[in-house]
């Protein structure tokens, strides 16, 4: 099992804000990595650096051993990566089906028929086959996020990045999205990096949990290690606050 993603001394600075400070992180092929931490800790920026939605101010990102650069970025994304966002970001002018087939047809050069078959397969996975002809605006937040996951799956990528996929959802619909993600984590060999506040999800599917604060990785370990026997005071304090809810 090789290293799929490697961040090497990654720094990110926005104006006066030093958001990431010398972040080193490796994600193995097929690993399910969950990143937790208080807001503003740099966890979203960390995943966004993995596909260069944010270009690191300094440091290097390697995908499957190859250094990610502005030049090969498109090639590497097309070969390896897909992403699910907090705000779904479905294309509102296209039907669900067209949302799913756009990249397979235009990027991966599949025929319309192949792409549609692919789309229907993944709509089944997320349990929304009946919504193929709908427009995103007609769907609930949870449904939109499941469609966004299906859209990412249609890229058939080795790596899926999730940037707080349930943070914008109603409490009632969070579960349906988490269920899909759990299924995906358990049944696929996709390398998943998930930024989330859902500790139950982390405990259930994570091979490894990383705790970030103030732009640094403070602690990492298996869910048991991190949730049940955290070493640092800060993690204990954070978990204490979360569990009080």
């Amino acid at each position: 099992m090789g290293v799929m993603i490697r961040l090497s001394r990654v720094n990110k600075v926005f104006g006066d804000l030093h958001v990431l400070k010398d972040v080193n992180l490796e994600v193995n092929e097929g690993e399910k990595l969950v990143i937790i931490g208080p807001s503003g800790s740099g966890k979203s920026t960390t995943v966004r650096c993995m596909n260069f939605l944010e270009v690191p101010t300094s440091g290097k990102v390697f995908i499957n051993g190859e250094e990610l650069t502005l030049k090969n970025r498109l090639h590497i994304i097309r070969t390896y990566m897909s992403m699910v966002f907090q705000s779904f970001n479905l294309y509102p002018h296209l039907t669900v089906l067209r949302n799913l087939t756009l990249a397979p047809v235009k990027i991966h050069h599949k025929t319309e028929a192949e792409a549609e078959e692919l789309a229907r397969k993944y709509l089944r996975v997320v349990g929304l086959e009946s919504k193929a002809a709908s427009y995103p605006a007609a769907l609930s937040g949870g449904q939109q996020q499941r469609i966004a996951i299906a859209r990412a799956l249609c890229q058939e990528s080795k790596i899926m990045l999730f940037d707080e996929p349930t943070s914008a959802l109603d409490p009632e619909t969070i579960q349906e999205v988490l269920d899909v993600m759990v299924k995906l984590a358990k049944e696929s060999n996709i390398t998943m990096v998930v930024v989330t506040h859902e500790m139950g999800f982390a405990r259930k599917v994570a091979d490894r949990v990383v705790f970030m604060e103030d732009g640094r990785i403070i602690e990492e370990g298996t869910p048991e290690q991190l949730f049940d026997h955290p070493k640092s005071e800060r993690v204990k304090q954070f978990l204490g606050k979360i569990l009080q809810h």
């Binding site: 994304i77 970001n89 294309y91 859209r151 890229q155």
Partner: protein, 235 residues
């Protein structure tokens, strides 16, 4: 006075010289269509440049837009025509008209595109980028199609204004509708039929512009209706 202007002989005269009006109409149409194509291409190009984030491209687009928008079209037409003619590189009246009017409205269309692109949420760009679309793919498949309904009304406005602005070609002796109408009413043999001539000229312009604004309106309403429908089907 007004009675004189609309006397029967004046109408006869206009009818006799109907080919002149038709010619003017066709020249205006030709100039307009080509200038619209040029304007849209320039507008799209400079609109994309001003939203691409690369400082020097944004700078070039700003210079173009500000320079063209803050000088009179009439001056630009004269400059292009006379300056080029006197330097021995004249390009002819028709080409001058197409280029100057296209470039002039291109600057306004660039602003329309810029505003349209700027109104699309950042998440749409990121979503498309994260799927592996390059800049032009992002624009073509994701951003520009969403801009259509925002861009449509001001763009229809620009196109209608462009058609009406072909009248500035009078200053360089064009053969567009306004120029020919003016020559007609001031001509030695045809002079005097002001009322009917200007009325016909106006109707011909109206015939070009009104269907355009109406069609744009219908198209916009349909796009909005589709949005409402797709949202209303929520269960």
């Amino acid at each position: 006075m007004l009675g004189n202007m609309f006397e029967g002989f004046a109408w006869d005269l206009v009818w006799q010289f109907r080919a002149t009006f038709l010619l003017g109409f066709l020249h205006t149409l030709e100039t307009s269509v080509l200038a619209i194509l040029l304007g849209l291409s320039l507008g799209l190009t400079f609109g994309l440049m001003s939203t691409c984030g690369k400082k020097w491209l944004v700078g070039i687009a700003r210079v173009y837009v500000e320079f063209i928008q803050n000088t009179p079209l009439l001056l630009q037409v004269c400059f292009l025509y006379y300056a080029l003619s006197f330097s021995g590189h004249g390009i002819g009246i028709l080409a001058t008209g197409i280029v100057s009017i296209g470039v002039y409205h291109g600057a306004y269309m660039a602003e329309v595109f810029r505003a349209g692109i700027g109104s699309i949420p950042k998440g749409q760009f990121e979503s498309a980028e994260s799927q592996g679309f390059g800049y032009f793919g992002v624009m073509r498949y994701v951003i520009l199609p969403q801009c259509t309904k925002i861009i449509l009304p001001p763009m229809a406005n620009q196109i209608v204004n462009l058609i009406k602005n072909t009248s500035v070609l009078y200053i360089i002796g064009g053969s567009d509708l306004i120029s020919l109408t003016y020559s007609f009413v001031t001509g030695v043999n045809t002079g005097g039929a002001y009322g009917p001539a200007y009325l016909i000229c106006g109707l011909l312009f109206f015939g070009m512009c009104y269907p355009l604004s109406t069609l744009a309106g219908i198209w916009e309403r349909n796009l909005k209706k589709r949005d409402q429908l797709s949202g209303a089907l929520k269960e």
